[in-house]
């Protein structure tokens, strides 16, 4: 038995599986088809980027995966179980304005931890304050934080409940380019430390190539999986290496094609 375990190549577990997922908004007859026959397996611990033309249904797809919308066709399953609704084991991080303005930084990070003992919760909060570099702002309300800090806070609130999947919907889209660059680095750092499955929606090609293990290119509406690209550049990625630039070019081509289809 032990020899067999050594012999078999490491097969990564499928964490999330989408089978024939379709989504039609507004009834059957005059409905608008947004997603069409999406099939995708995401491995445990994988970092996936979803890219595609704006308005193609990337956010809809993420909402379907997160259980906020039920697909009109097909199914999403996680660890073999069909998703029927949102679940604290899978947290969606929104583009902006999703931290609670009536809670302090501590209150926001601790939002999902109400079932823990006080001591445990405080420890967890302190850990993510540290990780997200929010020290000194524990008692601050979000209205006094910068946009980047608010997004770090949202990620901290999500990570604090120890989810196994993190869905990120253009989380850095509203930030300035320097802050975005820093935030990407932070996200990668966290992902490497606390290996979780990440599905990241973006319309930024560089973001996708810098972050992802695999980039999924969606077509324009109704969104289908147009193409897939594995980014086989070891991390930390040298963004001027030939392989990086080659992949970046290739992705650009695939996206161009997605626009024209």
């Amino acid at each position: 038995m032990s020899t067999e375990a050594v012999m078999t190549p490491p097969i990564l577990d499928v964490k999330l599986r989408m089978e024939h997922v379709g989504m039609v908004f507004g009834g059957d007859r005059k409905g608008v088809s947004v997603l069409e026959d999406i099939n995708l397996d995401v491995c445990d611990g994988e970092f996936i980027c979803l890219v595609g033309p704006s308005g193609c249904g990337k956010s809809t797809l993420l909402n379907v995966m997160g259980g906020f919308l039920s697909p009109t066709n097909g199914s999403v399953s996680i660890d073999g179980q069909i998703v029927h609704g949102p679940d604290p084991r899978r947290i969606l991080v929104f583009q902006e304005r999703a931290v609670f303005p009536w809670l302090t930084v501590e209150g926001n990070i601790g939002f999902g931890l109400s079932k823990m003992s006080r001591a445990q919760r405080d420890e967890r909060i302190a850990h993510y304050v540290q990780m997200m570099r929010l020290q000194g702002f524990e008692q601050t309300y979000p209205s006094d934080l910068s946009g980047g800090m608010k997004q770090r806070l949202q990620v901290a609130r999500a990570l604090a409940v120890n989810p196994d999947i993190l869905y990120l919907d253009e989380p850095f889209g509203a930030l300035d380019s320097i802050t975005r660059l820093i935030m990407r680095g932070e996200l990668l750092r966290i992902w490497q430390v606390e290996r979780r499955t990440i599905i990241f929606v973006t319309h930024d090609i560089d973001e996708a190539v810098q972050l992802a293990d695999r980039v999924v290119v969606l077509s324009s509406r109704p969104a289908k999986i147009q193409d897939m690209l594995t980014i086989d550049v070891p991390r930390p990625r040298n963004i001027s290496s030939p392989r990086y630039l080659e992949l970046r070019d290739e992705l650009l081509k695939k996206i161009r094609r997605a626009y024209t289809v």
Partner: protein, 252 residues
Amino acid sequence: MSLFVRLRPVAFIAVLLVTWQVAVYRHPGQLLPGPVGVLRGIGDLLQHGLLLKYVVASLFRVTWGFLLAAAIAIPLGLTIGWYRRAEMAFNPLVQVFRPISPLAWIPIAILWFGVGDLAAIFLIFAGCFFPLLLTASSAVHNIPTVYVHVGRNFGLSTSDFVYRVLYPAVVPQLITGLRITLGIAWLVVVAAEMISVNSGLGFLIIDARNAGNRYDLVIAGMVIVGTIGLLLDLGMRSLERVKSFRWGYSGN
């Protein structure tokens, strides 16, 4: 702000008062008592123990009418706002009742409750109920969907959701609504007391005229009504500075 800027409104009021007194002094007649006369009137009321008694009577009615309206209209409004179907059922009714002046309820109030505190309290209740109902239901509409999503994502139970997301999200708007409605209550109590009771500041004003053309007391009553109204508003406004509510007023 420099002291001078701060004192500007005080100085302006002082100028107006002096002008008023001078005008009354130069054209003595029955048109209006001067500020000195009004001050003397307030002194009279204090001496007879009427001022405190009437203020307490008016505040008592406002407190009950306002609190009753808030206790019923706010939960009802939040519920209606949350359930679209309830809103469709209630909305036409609310829209018809809302433009009816609370004073139109006076005959009904007297018919149901007779002359006394209850009638006045009912009128204040009627004046506050619909504005609060609308405030509460629109506050629910204005909750950003993303907060609702986050609440669901973290697996909150219904009661937790109400207590930890819905309630804090609507509080700033509710406070604004309560502030405006308390102003309405204070307007209504004066009118209600002129007709349906024998005490309070509204009664003071109408009685001073009816019983002896004491216009100094009429103006004294008005000044007191205005001052207390201002204090009530300042009290409600101070709530808007509470840290966990403040976000709702700064545009963030």
